[in-house]
């Protein structure tokens, strides 16, 4: 299993600013994912954070808007850049211990972002 913490747990930000969300895992994991969950909706995968290389982004998400870092196997950050009210959402970090095989995903508690 894996225990995931996220910082901050919530924030209120002004339009045009940026926020960096941190995700820390208590063990080394292969796969790390960043999701967005808008109010009352399901999870939308933003990107897969790859250790030592550029993240793999899903359709509709770009690196300039959501830069991701993953310096090691236990830590990742997601930055939401040049924010607008449409970015108000819950951002979830998730990990999967095994790569390339069906496996349980473990989720952090989420970061609730409100953009004014």
């Amino acid at each position: 299993s894996a225990v995931i913490s996220q910082k901050p747990s919530r924030d209120i930000c002004q339009r045009g600013t940026s926020l960096t969300i941190q995700c820390q895992v208590d063990s080394q994991v292969t796969m790390m994912f960043w999701y967005r969950q808008q109010p009352g909706q399901s999870l939308t995968l933003i990107a897969t954070a790859n250790q030592g290389s550029e993240a793999t982004y899903e359709s509709g998400f770009v690196i300039d808007k959501f830069p991701i870092s993953r310096p090691n196997l236990t830590f990742s950050t997601l930055t939401v850049s040049n924010m607008s009210p449409e970015d108000s959402s819950i951002y979830l970090c998730s990990v999967q211990i095994l790569a390339g095989l069906p496996d349980t995903q473990y989720f952090g508690p989420g970061t609730r972002l409100t953009v004014l």
Binding site: M31, Q41, L45, G100, L101, P102, F107
Partner: protein, 113 residues
Amino acid sequence: AQSVTQPDIHITVSEGASLELRCNYSYGATPYLFWYVQSPGQGLQLLLKYFSGDTLVQGIKGFEAEFKRSQSSFNLRKPSVHWSDAAEYFCALYNTNAGKSTFGDGTTLTVKP
């Protein structure tokens, strides 16, 4: 293309009553299926998963799910619901080619006293 459909957006049941949450999937290969629960203000937690073998799988908190290939379904059940079961429930399907999961839109469960 693969997809996961949870037909019920919102379900309300009385405490002590039985529960069934529906999940239908579309996938061309062997499905690997999951049910997760999200309590308010929390991340998702795995309830149970199906990879192969016995089509009736047991999970945590008294939940079970039955895989029915002929109906492309993986419905979640609980014989007697507790007030603490009020949450959002997500069905997910793992895509082995893509190496990631697709989640359904979720079902919100309300439990009446």
